[in-house]
């Protein structure tokens, strides 16, 4: 890769993400836009590359953008599928742009192998938090009884980790039985149907539900509501969407995990941008600053109100140059 060449002058800032139909990504985008505004540019200055779950489109769009801007790009991206990460960063590096990634990346791929152009990768270690939510769930259940789990798209990293977290927690709870765990593909409708089928299959053996994210949680809640079981069977979710937080406050959800997508969206763009503009030189940073975990905040009925006040009612203004403060340390494999 060699020494970083003269940095870019006002590169195009772009965010490439899955879709707009999901509150999580909307939060990410809002962060990205907040960052762009912090540079004194209008929201609209942020370029959106939406792949609708298609790695093919994701890659094609990025290449097209690089071609259009001649490599003068600061790109923040979730590559949608881990394998898609390599060709993307290779393409960006080849055209001397700058990219920061979140979530999906294969383990054999590292920013430092690309000099300065692959600025950073942030992911969230869902193992720990998912384990914690599980423990909260088990406590609520009195440490025994059957549970069911509904996961995300089976091959997605977060889906795998969140399931693993649940399994880890179970090691300490011999009386908890995992009745079944099925992938609900992050989809509310699917989750709803799977949950109601679970109710048929296990009837009142089900004492608790572990959901891989909030959208799944909504489906499960409604399936329970239909049977008049909401509030009777405790559930835990993940992501900490505003609506989920409200449900935690209402006590419908026992716990969810806030990964601060707003900050994540902003800071990922910021990393790419400030590296591109030469504000800092990635290759001078320690590995811990190039592959790191994002922040996670556990939300339970006790602290939900306070949390809402602090993070949601008025979105805090972040210092987009404090790249690593809120982070959670280097990624370990």
């Amino acid at each position: 890769s060699g020494p970083a060449r003269a940095a870019l002058s006002d590169p195009t800032i772009a965010w490439s993400y899955r879709n707009r139909t999901n509150p999580y990504w909307n939060e990410i985008v809002s962060g990205g836009e907040a960052f762009v505004e912090s540079l004194g540019m209008p929201k609209s200055a942020l370029v959106h590359l939406i792949n609708d779950g298609s790695s093919e489109k994701s890659l094609a769009d990025v290449k097209a953008l690089l071609a259009k801007e001649n490599g003068n790009v600061a790109l923040a991206i979730d590559t949608n599928d881990a394998p898609n990460c390599r060709p993307i960063v290779e393409a960006v590096a080849a055209s001397k742009g700058y990219v920061s990634t979140i979530w999906n990346k294969t383990d054999d791929l590292h920013p430092w192998d690309f000099g300065d152009h692959y600025v950073s990768h942030m992911t969230w270690s869902d193992l720990g938090p998912a384990e914690q939510t599980a423990r909260i769930l088990f406590k609520k259940m009195g440490g025994k009884g059957g549970i069911v789990g509904l996961g995300g798209i089976a091959s997605n990293n977060p889906a795998i980790e969140r399931k693993q977290g649940l399994l880890n927690a179970m090691k300490d709870y011999p009386d908890i039985e995992l009745l079944d765990y099925q992938a609900a593909d992050w989809d509310t409708q699917k989750a709803n149907q799977i949950m109601s089928s679970f109710l048929t299959r296990f009837g009142d053996e089900i004492k608790g539900v572990h959901c891989a994210n909030d959208t799944i949680g909504y489906g499960v809640l409604e399936a329970l509501r239909a049977e008049g079981l909401q509030g009777v069977i405790p559930i835990v979710t993940y992501d900490g969407n505003p609506q989920a937080v409200d449900l935690v406050i209402k006590g419908d959800i026992e716990a969810t995990v806030f990964t601060n997508p707003h900050w994540g969206g902003g800071i990922t763009a910021a990393l790419a941008y400030y590296a591109a503009t030469g504000h800092f030189k990635p290759s001078d940073e320690p590995h811990a600053n190039r592959e790191f975990y994002g922040p996670t905040i556990m939300i339970t009925p006790d602290d939900a109100k306070a949390f809402k006040a602090e993070y949601l009612d008025s979105v805090p203004t972040y210092d987009w140059k404090d790249f690593w403060g809120p982070g959670n340390g280097q990624i370990s494999y």
């Binding site: 707009r20 079944d180 109601s196 089928s197 048929t200 409604e222 049977e227």
Partner: protein, 321 residues
């Protein structure tokens, strides 16, 4: 002769037999399956899908196809939620207007769909596929990607209130089914669908305004998509762009599994009811008997092929496309 009759009859009733066979199979595999509560759950899951399938049935009878339902449902769901909330968000206030308004929106969406199809002479497959994108886009534009919660207890009572163990929405769906049946068998437009499906050129040559029938067909379908959207929102309590996802292929599959031929002219809404039930029984049953997720797609596929295989009268078919 009589034995020919019985063969035809068997073919005609094959979907029902398949449905019964499936129910028996799953019940044996897991007795819990055979319970009113579970049937209620299947019914709930099937309600929105049934509305969509009824809508597409009319189109398929005409020998056309409609792939716009995902977009249509998204638009209807979002429009409903927005209107409902802006009108007070309680069914016992003026907000009830949102219900009929949504049906109108659905019909209008169908109208545009139909006009694009007949006026621009674009095959329905493409026209509706494109309109699907437009619909998704519209709902996205309206919500900016956020989801809208509809929590009015009266409206949600469609899900929460039960009569004879079945939630209200199931009965309303049944009502809609009867209406659809009436349209199909008693009304002029309904019969014209069959005429167009049986021989479009001939129908035109004998003075039928085929394009008008077409457009009306898509409007009626649109209205039923709107109903589907309403039930979907009632079931989940959320209106969003994703409300319509995964409805396209499954609803068309249901229609065909029910015994309505894709080349038009035959079948009807009762077939679609059976088809929808078959598909939902399979979906529910596979989980109830504890099939791992990764085999479910395959199993569904095989069962669908089997069902269609049994219910098609191959002797009378020269070929299928």
């Amino acid at each position: 002769m009589s034995q020919v009759m019985s063969r035809e009859n068997l073919q005609k009733w094959a979907p029902v037999l398949v449905l019964i066979a499936l129910i028996l199979f799953f019940s044996i595999a897991n007795p819990n399956f055979m319970s009113v509560r579970n049937f209620a759950r299947i019914a709930m899951a099937a309600t929105p899908a049934l509305m969509i399938s009824i809508g597409i049935t009319f189109i398929i009878i005409m020998g056309s196809i409609d792939l716009s339902m995902e977009g249509a449902v998204a638009v209807c769901a979002v429009v409903f939620a927005t209107l409902f909330l802006s009108l007070g968000g309680a069914l016992d206030s003026w907000a009830w207007v949102a219900l009929p308004a949504t049906l109108v929106v659905g019909a209008c969406f169908g109208l545009v769909n139909g006009l694009v199809h007949v006026k621009l002479k674009i095959p329905s497959f493409m026209a509706s596929l494109s309109m699907g994108f437009v619909g998704i886009g519209l709902s996205l534009l309206m919500t900016g990607g956020d989801r809208i919660r509809v929590e009015d207890p009266l409206f949600r009572s469609l899900l929460t209130e039960r009569v004879l163990n079945f939630p209200l929405m199931v009965y309303f769906a049944g009502l809609a089914l009867l209406v659809a049946w009436f349209i199909q068998s008693r009304t002029r437009i309904g019969r014209n669908f069959y005429a167009v499906g049986g021989g479009e050129e001939l129908a035109h040559a004998s003075g039928l305004n085929v394009n008008r029938v077409r457009v009306l067909g898509f409007m009626i379908a649109g209205a039923f998509y709107a109903l589907g959207a309403l039930f979907a929102v009632a079931r989940i309590g959320i209106a969003e762009t994703a409300t319509g996802y995964n409805l396209m292929f499954i609803s068309i599959t249901s229609v065909v599994v029910g015994g309505t031929a894709l080349w038009g002219g035959t079948g009807g809404v009762w077939n679609s009811l059976v088809g929808v039930l078959i598909v939902n029984v399979i979906a529910n049953g596979m989980i109830v008997i504890g099939l791992p997720r990764y085999v479910q797609d395959g199993v569904l596929g095989v069962l669908v092929i089997l069902a269609v295989y049994l219910s098609t009268d191959r002797k009378s078919l020269a070929f299928v496309k």
